[in-house]
Symmetry: C2
């Protein structure tokens, strides 16, 4: 493991009074824009300015396959990973629709798809291996592969920074990756596996029971894993490890990290164990319907913006939340002040 | 009262199986887009098509003054109503920022502002009277004025329909109108006034206590009011009555009615008492931080899309939720199907 997580700058907390003043001078009752005011403050502290902006946002859909899929942990066949990658590249998936709607660039990152993919302008080939090993029988990744994933994720963000991007929306695709996410969350938080395992892409009750039974056996195969890199090696996947590296690198460059659902949150949990300050740069987009997400969010004390019963992944929750981030920056930059608009402020409390 | 609420067409429930099939054929696990799938279904049933669309949406900010403001029920002086109308017309308010962001037309409707307003391309002069009377001493509106408000609201929607608009986002401005809304909700639901009164634009504890005390006296001045038109006459305001008429007219034309926060919900409660089927055409944008909103939402069995601690009004919550409605229509119209994209569906459950 050669990759060292880069340092993450501290928030510009000295600007908090100036930011709060600017927010409160806008023509609205103080606090009346709720969570949007919190976002505006956060972006100002992150970017060390009282006039934050969001530039050239990119949705990154990290794709990878999982050897564990052979155990029937998903209701979908493993081939769906590569099929959906082709769907992303053809523009037909949900994330494509939402990215187009919001003017978001979209890149599909091949972190570890178990198929050869022809070149495509929207595809970034960062494949570390063609799917992870089956974690029921052996470690999903070697330590060297984990390091490669992290480093390639970070390098990819460094490349994006050159074109001025300062906001990344994280998404993923990988049949079997809710299983890897559940195992990672269990290992890193110590929570009972039962609290971390959900229906994924839509298991019925027997399917959920089967998934749980398999994951209990996987966990027993890798006892005493609690360190983030060891957990990534034990359970995978390539796309999760690569997201963790990309998140740390993004925060190191003061980028906004928009966290999608269950699997992206598992990647963030890994990233936060490597470099806790990454959390200062995160916006939690939505609360997934997958049961395990609540456990991971609680661990991170996260308050997602949306509660819409989503459980699709791909970055769809991040894309759906995106306009709220734009609104937060927009009100701060564009609204008139009480003074400029000639609007009276609240009267002093009466005796 | 000459205005008769128009008939509202029934939902095209015979299309529900076809709509559900179309939703489930998209390349995503069934149900995984959560609330967006419910919206897509609702729009299809409303518009009687499996390919619903949203056309030429308009934010309508209904403005009116309240005689009750003289009793100190708001922390802001009554002059703020007209000052904010000028701010809307100059483009400097929060709703202007969000409407621009989402490409929403915005019209300010003078339903009853207590000032003369010069003509402006974005201002619709529908003034019924220059502010309501003080409900502490007399009925806020006459029965004839209530009828005028309802009729003018409906006529305004009929005009908008000519330009192809099929979605209306409701907002309002009026110092004192959280008091009118609380009184209306109390009268129409029978809930204790204490459950309906919140901090409005931001009362501190003494301000809230004073507001409650005034509203208890107003309620005592108008006992046994439970019928919607009588309640509007007793408590006002012009902007609330005009919204109620506009909502019924919108639903009669199968338009999407996007319901903002506390005051708009009070108007909807009135509208639903006049014509219950209006609710079939409503999308509840957000759950306001104002305490009374929860009571009104419960009465309507409403599940708002957003929970962001907003309490600004102006239609800001409706505008912030708008992109979710666009996403719902977008996924249904634009996503590939499993068949068209060559993606495998879920495997049959294993034995």
């Amino acid at each position: 493991m050669n990759w060292q997580p880069p340092a993450i700058p501290a928030l510009a907390t000295h600007l908090e009074p100036a930011l709060r003043l600017r927010i409160d001078q806008k023509t609205k009752p103080p606090g009346s824009l709720g969570r949007l005011e919190e976002l505006a403050l956060q972006f100002g502290l992150m970017q060390a300015t009282t006039a934050p902006e969001l530039r050239a946002p990119v949705v990154l859909v990290f794709a990878g396959d999982h050897g564990l899929a052979a155990e029937g942990v998903s209701p979908f066949p493993a081939a769906v990973t590569v099929q959906m990658v082709h769907n992303f590249l053809a523009g037909g998936a949900a994330i494509n629709v939402f990215a187009r709607q919001h003017g978001l660039a979209l890149r599909v990152v091949d972190a570890g798809v178990a198929a050869d993919l022809p070149p495509h302008p929207s595809l970034l080939d960062r494949k570390v291996r063609a799917g992870t090993r089956n974690a029921l029988h052996e470690p999903a990744l070697t330590a060297a592969e984990v390091g490669q994933c992290l480093a390639r994720g970070a390098a990819l963000v460094d490349e994006l920074a050159k074109s001025g991007t300062n906001a990344l929306l994280f998404g993923e695709m990988g049949i079997g990756n809710t299983s890897a996410a559940a195992l990672l969350i269990g290992a890193l938080t110590g929570a009972p596996l039962a609290d971390c395992v959900g229906r994924g892409a839509g298991h019925d009750d027997p399917g959920l029971a089967r998934k749980r039974a398999v994951l209990e056996r996987v966990q027993a195969r890798h006892p005493d894993v609690s360190e983030p890199l060891a957990a990534l090696a034990a359970f995978g996947g390539c796309e999760i490890a690569m997201m963790a590296g990309a998140m740390v690198a993004g925060a190191a460059r003061r980028m906004v990290i928009v966290v999608d659902g269950f699997i992206v949150t598992a990647a963030l949990l890994v990233a936060a164990r490597l470099q806790p300050a990454v959390l200062d740069y995160c916006v939690f987009a939505h609360h997934s319907a997958d049961a395990g997400h609540a456990r991971a969010l609680a661990e991170l004390r996260a308050k997602p913006l949306l509660h819409l019963g989503l459980r699709l992944g791909e970055g769809t929750g991040a894309a759906l939340a995106w306009p709220l981030l734009v609104s937060a920056v927009g009100f701060l930059r564009e609204m008139a002040t009480f003074e400029s608009a000639g609007v009276s402020t609240a009267e002093a409390p009466r005796a």
